[in-house]
């Protein structure tokens, strides 16, 4: 099975993770100014990249949502980054 890297916990089996969404889609706001097409694009559209993909994943064990870059063809993990800023 695959093994992904959580920025906090390190290398863990794929069963601990959940794919959330393709990264790089900021939520369009305020609602009143967003067209139907733009909202549909945010909700549903994506690139389904073949090759390098930037994705948001959830590590269920520790609850961290993080950014992972993978190759969708070879399934190699290229990088994992925490999205939260460090606390003081």
């Amino acid at each position: 099975m695959q093994a992904f890297t959580c920025p906090f916990c390190g290398h863990r089996d794929e069963t601990e993770f959940h794919f959330v969404v393709e990264a790089g889609k900021p939520r369009p706001e305020p609602s009143e100014e967003v067209s139907d097409e733009k909202w549909a694009a945010y909700l549903h559209m994506g690139k389904a990249p073949k090759g390098e993909a930037r994705e948001i994943w959830l590590h269920i064990t520790c609850g961290l949502y993080f950014l992972m870059t993978r190759d969708t063809v070879t399934r190699d993990i290229l990088s994992s980054e925490c999205l939260l800023e460090a606390s003081e």
Binding site: M1, Q2, H18, W39, G63, Y65, R75, L83, L84
Partner: protein, 945 residues
Amino acid sequence: MTSFRHETLGSKIDRSKVIKFEFDGRIVSGFEGDTIASALLANGVRLVGRSFKYHRPRGVWGMGSEEPNALVDVLIDGKSTPNLKATTIKAREGMVVRSVNVSPSAAKDRYRFMDLFNRFIPAGFYYKTFMALGWDRWEPMIRKMAGLGRIDANNQPPVDSPQINAECDVLVIGTGPAGLAAAKAAAEGGQKVWLIDEAQDLGGSLRWRGGTIDGKDWPEYAALSKEAVLKAGGKILLDTTLWGAFDQHMFAAWQRFTSSPDLHWRIRAKKTILAAGAIERPLWFANNDLPGVMSAEAAMHYLVCYGIVPGTDILIGTANDLTYPIAQAFGNAGVNVTLIDQRQSGPELQGVRHAYGVKLTSAEGHNGVTGATVDGEYVSTDAILVSGGYTPTVHLWCQSGGKLDWQPEIDGLVPRPGTSDMIVVGAANGTYALNAALKEGHAAGGGRGRAPKSVLKQNPAIEPVRPDPDLKGRQWIDMQNDVTLKDVSLAASEGFQSVEHLKRYTTLGMATDQGRTSNFAGLAAMSAITGKSIPETGTTTYRPPFQPVPLVTISGRRRGDLFNPLKRLVLEDAHRSEGARFREYGGWLRPSVYGVGDETTLAQEEAMIARSNVGIFDASPLGKLEVIGPKAGELLDFTGYVRMSTLKPGRARYGFMLAESGIVYDDGVVLRLDENRFIVSASSSHVDGVRWKLEDGRQDRLGGKGVYIHDMTSAWTTLTVTGPKASELIAGAGIELPALTHMSVSETKFEGRPLRIARISFTGDKSFELSVPSLHAENLRNRLSGALAQFGGKWIGLEAVMIMRAEKGYILIGKDTDGLTMPHDLGWAGPREKRTDEYIGKRSLFTPEGKSNTRKQLVGFETLDNNPLVTGSHLVPVDGDRRSLGYVTSSYFSNTLKRPIALGLLENGTGRIGQVIGCFNNGEIRMAKVIGPCALDPEGVRLNG
């Protein structure tokens, strides 16, 4: 004549222990250590099966999992298992072995006449016919003739296969010379090595070919390798098939045991060395599938390990150097053998008849080999051993993404370096010379210093052999699936020339031997027919499993209660002692009713008692998510449809969580305990989903600061006391009840421990949810239970609760919502109209669909007779138009109201209140009146009492 047992040879058999078993009705005796195949051969049983399509006689070809012919059903200890390869199963006393797909036996199979019609049933013939009258007409007959073994309906194999995760530094697959050298080198370098072999002993082909390594007989070298591995903390797994390579260096292996269950390994290796050897290829000539035609390598294996001599007048056909030691071994054993080599010269042979420049053109015989033709001339023989070269076993390399290159010197496809981080050594890498294999293995294992050496300095010459389309007669390419060279020609002429098309059209390579002996032949044949080179023709994809793996091993113990395990209540035993019956609800095992008898009757009685006096039910599975911090209110405002930041401490409010698509994901009550503490409840089946949506908002929206989320669902037990006498019961149980209005909450103590009491109602009656840490649940339960009799109360199950909430029009997510339901469909339009701040799902509520006036809305139904509607009925126009306007989602008889009640989702439901609508179920239409969802006490008098 036929096969027999040599007087003295046989390293694996114990001649002092005789084993008797039955094969196709006759008693066969062998020795301890024999496989079914070796025992049959020892008894001269050559005809062990019939081919799949033509029912031609077949005999043992190989020595292991590459065996295409000797498939058997084995009955032992009263249980029968189908499709086992006789070459891989140890013979045991009392086994009843039957050849597959034959009737009544392999020898007397009544379908053997099929071969007479062979020219009318070539590959793919079924695509060209069976159209008139429809396939359905012919299918039953075809299905009966297809299939190999038979499922025994009474055999439910035990659910006991263990599954273990493991890690190692170096995984070495194969314990032939290259594998042994690699393992030894790596272990001596301090690596934790796992050494794996399909066979039951170390050594690979050394076990029958023999050899000296570093001046010693090979078993000594093997022992040194084993010692080094174990000393460095590694492991040796024999009788273990490594069957799958998966992502990030994960491997699956199947380890076989005789007196305990087989084991499923998941091994993650930092480095992998593949030393899986090579499989011998057949030769192609007319009737090359007759019993008595056998792989030369396998024959030597049988001779040395089991003392089997395949015949009294053996012919060996070859075109490579590696067959010569085999012929020599037979000669040395005193067996009558003649070697013919297609080439003009070969290595030395002592005392063995041989001829050059000639080749086999046919095998002759009725149910087994009695002769052959060599370049067209008849010779008498009773066993033909063949070698058409070797195919490196590269499956796992390809499974891990590696590519292959054509290597003409060995006439085979070998791993292309750099296309996978596996290292391939030895015969699997096309390196057949013993010295070179040892050297490769040593280097792969990171060995320092001199590599182990053998005396043998062979560099075996291999001449390519190809099927000849011009040869008269039928030549078998895939024996198990009965695919001949003519079928390959047919496929080519019909345009199925790519390797994948060839395979699918002819079914070549798709049998239980997975093309071990046929894939290369098919490739070579197609290459010869089309004139393209082998690399241009391509190669089929290799996928797991490397060998057929028992399903029980892969599924392990994930069965019964351990399959999607249900969550259990802390108080389950206590409920059982009260007579609770349990059922699965939303992933939990919960009481449906209490008592013996008809479930619906019991549920109605419980509801009556709860409505007139008091009832208690276990509401623990309802999610309890604590949201804590100064930003808690802000988070809930964004993630919820109803604003909670305005909720006062000590109060509760009903709300929804929407998905960004605007649909109602979950509903539930939020409690505010103080300025910075909320508890969000979630439907029992949606707790994780709600929790992750909150967490998403917390991290993405608030940067993870100012608020924390804590799932307390299992940690607290909640018992709900509901009914007009609820307050009396609680007081009567000696629990101090604060003054609470409906929709409020208080934190207090019970026996010195925290007790939270929320006055919330799902039943429509005065109702209190009492929550304590689960450790103290028993005490609370006992206290409350003790007071029940005094107030005429009862434990009630979920079925009763379902009736009561339906009477009030309270929804169950997923039952009364259909996943396209938006909050304004449920009558909750306020926030949509009024909120100006952002919240999840907001924009979706205003798409054209969100604004449509034909949306399905929640309504209630009143039947026109006294029978409840069937849940799942569709609502249809009364004018007879067969169009679905929605459906009935909940339906019960209400004893309180003395009439049936129902809820459903109806197109423009609120606009149709007062109208009559049709309810369609299984072709019948009944009428009902559309009413509001709340059938009982719409003013809420009972709630506020």
